[in-house]
Subunit: 314 residues, 2 copies
Amino acid sequence: MDHTLAAEPTHSVWDRSLAPRLRVAPGDEVQIECKDSSGGQVGPHSTIQRFLAIDRTRIHALTGPIWIEDAKPGDVVEIDVLATRHCGWGWSSVLEGLGFLKDRFHTPHLFLWNLEGEVTRSLFPAVVPLRPFLGVMGVARAEDGAFRTRPPGHFGGNLDVRELCAGSRLYLPVFNEGALFSCGDGHAAQGDGEVCINGIECPLDVTLRFHLHKQQPLAGPIVEASEEIAPDSTADAWVVVESGTDVAATARAATGRVIDLLVSRWGFDEIHAYILCSVALKLRLSQVVNEPMFTVSAALSQQILPRRRLFPAG
Amino acid sequence: MDHTLAAEPTHSVWDRSLAPRLRVAPGDEVQIECKDSSGGQVGPHSTIQRFLAIDRTRIHALTGPIWIEDAKPGDVVEIDVLATRHCGWGWSSVLEGLGFLKDRFHTPHLFLWNLEGEVTRSLFPAVVPLRPFLGVMGVARAEDGAFRTRPPGHFGGNLDVRELCAGSRLYLPVFNEGALFSCGDGHAAQGDGEVCINGIECPLDVTLRFHLHKQQPLAGPIVEASEEIAPDSTADAWVVVESGTDVAATARAATGRVIDLLVSRWGFDEIHAYILCSVALKLRLSQVVNEPMFTVSAALSQQILPRRRLFPAG
């Protein structure tokens, strides 16, 4: 391990003027402690009363920023998720006015999960396999100012893409010198859509490795999902992630970016790339609750394509 | 095999006044020949010129209707997809004014696929695994009249849900005596969304078995996806299928129906069902090209729930 970074003090805005808390070189491994999305305000014995009184401006309680040496606008930062470690518990909540079914579910509710190894053990008639990941990984935005972390974007951020578990890689465009990476919002498991507003929220320690790809085109986040760690549909896939206020338009943009990738990196004719998407692309609603932004993932199995790296080795 | 049914004469509307071409009893197996979605107007050596001249009112060229004895409004018909057999070729097209990216792709294009066993072999820099299924399976609608087959609905129809491959089951509500089941629109493979407007369109022979569940509540199509046949994310899943003109509203309705199912069949508290969806539901855009209707699938792995049938055995 080249570095460790404790969670505190966390931050809850994207702001490129925040002072970096750690400087790393490309290739370095960093062990990062992340609080749960409440920033430690929820604990394994919290009550709904205590939960309703938390300071919601502290969500998502990110760890960072991390300065990546030599990162410049126009570069791509690759984040390899090497390992994740939950702490044995997590929570999910329902709040009035939030969530995909807010017209149906009004009454506030806090649910606490016991996590044992790789599954949930709770007062719950289902056992959910755990695939921990960070809901938020991102770099500082291009603009001056302090932006709340709820809306995701081309800088990454609150993507809630459940494919980002250990073994996967995230590629993000760099908008500022040093990139200024921050992360948090650990989820021990999450469905597509994260419909009630939460995954299994939990403190999560992660080991990340950072690489730089100098001056490469990248319109927005791409995930390279891992086969070993994600033995389901998203195994071994290229996943283009797009966020926007209209689901159909966002899915359209994500599909367009997959076509662009097949053309630019795999040498497809544009029309053939379109047809391949029609017969093989997996379109998912990764999150539908961070209003006004929806996130769509468009995934193509790596097994149907010639083996190739996303960017030239450098 | 209890029955066989040849494709011709096909039909291209939902119309409850159509005379049944076959009568089957619950439990019967039927081998059904389905033309490709053009009704045989496209062949393995078609040119784009010939393709542009086809009679598009003949799409989807369904086989049926099949009268299921004793089926009454309020019943549920279960369709077990036992086997599918493609004929070694298929096609995909792009047409001006159609498809998810119609603003980007204007020039008409016809692509012909060779299908060898379980993969594509074509002039195409990708090899796509085949998972043949019928894009259209449905029962006659409740209303009088002849309805074009493009929009799907609670009666099933043009769902384009790629989980409906061999080994899976489709549950549909019955709206008319005899149910009046028809099917067609074979796809040798298809991605979520079917973005260019086609999967790998192909003639497809299928073996189906029909069962009835008398007077059971069912708000719309549900798929029971098979583990053996679908070794990816949709393996062994309960999939609720919902179609509508607004993607977000449709995804919301699908999620609501999964919650209803967990409450009614698995005895969940409503709030717990909602939270389980947030941490384990998979939300997919099954089709985004049958304007004005979008189709969303909401899938829950069967492995996380106590083993249970969708309806009481009877």
